[in-house]
Assembly symmetry: C2
Homo-oligomer: 256 residues x 2
């Protein structure tokens, strides 16, 4: 089996489940760290800053630093900056997306925007959606941090950003550019940050439709772990199987 | 040309444009009234009560009474009552839908609901959408007052109920039963209230995709007027043309 020189690793379902760490996660990261193998966490979460995500991981005993966390907000901000360095952005979202856009020097504005950026926003309201529709109809490029339709919570599955985004899509008839997994955009950003060839990189995740498809779409080998969203029973019926799979990351730690 | 014994008439774009009456509207209604031809107004508006809509018409000199107004809220409430007379309903919407459901004796509740009812709600928030998703996932029948994707306002096209509804559709994967035009449900309610055979009834409206399709779907003859949404230029390319069309209702008043 191939020795990978760098890892891209999903968070929810792979490193933790909501507020609980997954048992094998800390050891897995320690093993990478012990062998000086670089890794980045790649998350569709747009609501938190890199530091907030990193702090959460450290509190669970999983070694991280803010610059090891690639959020969809970070990838969105970098993507927009590449298109237009002084872009005006109309933003729907929480702390993470505002922080990332500002950090890249982009302008957050209420009208005459170049981009409409939609991320999960649990303070969503009609006015925000209305202005976003107006900006998109006026020609702003419509970007959505990720297409996740539901967020697992203790209360059940609540609407995800892909569901909120659909208000603007349905009303204006314009489809957004999605940044997060399974799209290539976040993966290409992560690969660039990791600084290694794709052929030497492994994408690790639990969710076939986001993590594994992201690896496939980006041309990166994949390791699937059955501690999260996609049940083992679905493996046989998958359209294209991951390169490797394990029930627990514990099975992989010795192979690092 | 056929003499119709009853009329179903759209409001916005046919009787008025936003806050302004359409010039020929009052005379058109007066002509029906003078010949004792019964008529009902059929609107996809779910936010206002029948009385509020009727008051607006009267203030414009267009003869109406509350019982001449068929809103999607009224049609929704009657539809649900037919399914289950003491149904528990989780409601997203404004005054009109609450009023209509309560008037039919239905129970407005926060959980364990038989139906989720989504109407336009300019006080929409994440919690309302979240609870609606939970109820739908728990088996509640999902109903949406209408599928209109945009609302014309002085500010531009703002998100309509069909756009807001899509959050629940996309997140849960369950499509709603739509009540309003172009669906048959509101038309069948209106025909029943009018108490005349469909063959003697004419549907009048400006919007091909809602009003005229509603007539076609319900098997009712249609009169299209070009004072609203659908421009005259589109007539040639319509999939199925209306039975009659006029530039202004003034052209039809003599034929009543």
């Amino acid at each position: 089996m191939k020795q990978y020189k760098g890892y891209l690793i999903d968070l929810d379902g792979t490193m933790y489940l909501g507020k609980e760490p997954i048992e094998a996660a800390a050891d897995f990261i320690d093993a990478l760290s012990a062998k000086n193998i670089p890794y980045l966490f790649v998350t569709n979460n747009s609501s938190k800053t890199q530091k907030a995500v990193s702090d959460k991981l450290n509190a669970m005993g999983i070694k991280s630093t803010p610059d090891k966390v690639v959020t969809t907000s970070l990838a969105t901000a970098k993507y927009i900056k590449q298109q237009k360095a002084d872009a005006r952005c109309y933003v729907i979202g929480e702390e993470g997306i505002y922080h990332a856009l500002e950090k890249e020097g982009l302008i957050i504005a209420e009208e005459n925007c170049d981009f409409v950026v939609a991320g999960i926003d649990r303070a969503i309201n009609y006015e925000k959606l209305a202005q976003a529709c107006i900006e998109v109809r006026n020609g702003a490029t419509f970007i959505s941090t990720n297409s996740d339709i539901a967020i697992p919570t203790e209360r059940g599955l609540l609407p995800g950003n892909g569901a909120l985004t659909s208000v603007i899509t349905v009303s204006t008839g314009k489809k957004p550019i999605f940044i997060g997994k399974p799209e290539r955009i976040i993966m290409d950003e992560a690969v660039e940050m990791l600084g290694l060839p794709k052929a030497d990189t492994l994408m690790v995740g639990d969710n076939y439709n986001t993590d594994i498809r992201a690896g496939i779409n980006a041309g990166i080998d994949t390791l699937m772990v059955f501690t999260g969203v996609t049940p083992f029973g679905e493996l046989e019926s998958l359209e294209k199987r991951p390169d490797y799979y394990v029930q627990s990351l514990r099975e992989w730690t010795d192979k690092i």
